[in-house]
Amino acid sequence: MKRHDEVTDPAGNHSTDSRAHVEGRPGRLAKESKAPADRPDPGAHGAAVTLEDVSISFGDHIAVRNVTLQMPAHQVTALVGPSGCGKTSVLRAVNRLHDHTGGAVRGTVRLGSLDVYGPDVQPEVLRSRIGMVFQRPNPFPTMSIFDNVISGLRFNGVRNKRLLREMGIAALHNAALWDIVKDRLSQPAVRLSGGQQQRLCIARALAIEPEVLLMDEPCSALDPVATAKIEDLIRHLSGEVTIALVTHNMFQAARVSDNVAVFLLGDDRVGELVEVGPTDRVFDTPNDARTKAYVTGHVG
């Protein structure tokens, strides 16, 4: 707990460490960047995610190495970089999805002050605090629209019908989907368009009221209109939930994120984090030459 306070401050006033120094962008999230010093334990007000010296390997192959990164609470942190540099691996380490795929995670991952890989942590309980949205929309094909939304609640033992209904509706509102689906809640989810399916998946993830939302290239299978809607949603949600967004699209990172973490492949084909900081700063004046090359190559 104390150690946690030393290494991270979700509101980003730890200005001695450039990696931890993150400010809200002007005119946005003013509440978040204002007077954060008097905040109590960050874990108690919507946790930030902290990675300390995290390496992830699959068998002999090291996917990504020595990542140290803070994702400030109630902000959007974009993980960018070319394919195969470990962005998704890092994302999946946060909710322990590697437990099931044989990936080995070394180092420390924290959700607020909780050590995610601590001995007493029950992965199911941990994941009930973290939402995830995948590359391709993956609504459960055997469930109706509404049953999809409340599936996470059911999995977590919520049985009260009135509560389920109320929370499902709230999630659909939060995902800006209510007006579209309110008249066909009992239809199969797969009848929705791709973009709507993805927003349904976001609603499903939001229904458990996560503290952190992990998004793994959520727009890569969507058209620009659907993408714009998802991006709006990400901006809108960032005030309430901490978002980690993996994206290939540098424009998207620039549009929606508060902070950006740039991953690249090292000389030995192992992914590493080369730079992290406020999005404006990283894009305008990157510290690292490799970041500069990558960023300008994509943006300029």
Binding site: S128, L153, G157, E209, E211
Partner: protein
């Protein structure tokens, strides 16, 4: 209450935001429910796991017992001579089952010659021309695979043996082929369905004729599944007895018939031969199954 996440945010603003208060309440509901129910959910998960773990040995036990029994009773009979020598009359020592092995081989060869190509072409038709006819064919295949093998046997008897007044391996092969065909058709079709539509479209968009795409993309992609399915169907057919009862001239011309015949004789010699033949048959089926796995594995590796 002031430590609640969204309350904190709300207090920072000018006035409390009821939406955020609600969100905080919902979050508490989920966290509370997740924590309170985790014990129950874990217990249910463990119970399910236990049932699965118990089910495995119960399911595998008969197979193990069967192999042990066959090996222990048949191993004494099997040697090189047993495989290479023709059967001898009752009481004459040193007989083998070579005629039965050759006969079974012939019958299965005929069956393969009939069912494998037919199975491929029918499956290709089902894959390439979906519609009413395909559905009807698929349905017939399902019905045919449910027809008792003795019925196939008596049908073959009526069509071939009775008409030509002649028992023959060819007729037996036909009966086995009819038995194997529907299994092969469905296995082939399933294998073809695993080839994604994207690949099919990529082939067609390159200007290939449908038949060429069917051969180079669909069949090639489905090959591991096709080979596995066909080998397993053959393994299934090798062990069939009923279709042969009406079609093979003598029980010494097919292994399964020999087993049936000798096992029901009162002489210990004959019974020993029956067990030995059973062991040979079992080994053959095992080899076929292992081949099926190996071929599928090798082919799958090549494409990765």
């Amino acid at each position: 209450m002031s430590t609640l996440p969204s309350m904190q945010v709300a207090l920072d603003g000018a006035m409390p935001d009821m939406g955020l208060v609600e969100a905080a309440r919902r979050r508490l509901v989920v966290r509370d429910s997740a924590r309170r129910s985790i014990g129950r959910r874990r217990a249910a998960g463990r119970a399910m796991q236990a049932i699965c773990l118990i089910a495995v040995p119960i399911g595998v036990a008969p197979l193990v017992a069967l192999v042990i029994a066959t090996v222990s009773k048949g191993a004494g009979a099997v040697n090189i001579g047993f495989l290479l020598h023709a059967p001898t009359p009752e009481g004459v020592p040193g007989g083998g089952i070579s005629t039965a092995i050759i006969g079974s081989g012939e019958i299965v060869a005929y069956a393969i010659g009939l069912a494998v190509p037919m199975g491929l072409f029918i499956a290709l038709f089902l894959f390439e021309r979906p519609g009413g006819i395909a559905s009807a064919v698929r349905f017939s295949a399902d019905v045919l695979s449910g027809v008792p093998s003795i019925v196939i046997g008596i049908f073959t008897y009526a069509v071939f043996v009775e008409r030509f007044h002649h028992f023959s391996d060819l007729a037996a092969g036909f009966a086995l082929g009819v038995l194997m065909l529907p299994i092969m058709v469905r296995a082939n079709e399933e294998a073809m369905r695993t080839v994604s539509v994207d690949l099919w479209e990529a082939g067609v968009s390159l200007g290939a004729r449908r038949s060429r795409v069917a051969r180079s993309i669909v069949l090639r992609g489905a090959l591991p599944g096709v080979v596995t399915g066909n080998l397993l169907a053959v393994a299934r057919g090798v062990g069939e007895t009923a279709p042969l009862l009406f079609t093979v001239a003598s029980p010494t011309f097919a292994m399964t018939l020999l087993i049936f015949n000798d096992a029901t004789e009162p002489f210990p010699d004959a019974q020993q031969t029956a067990w030995g033949t059973a062991l040979v048959l079992l080994a053959l089926v095992l080899i076929l199954s292992v081949c099926a796995r190996t071929v599928a594995w090798t082919l799958n590796r090549k494409t990765r």
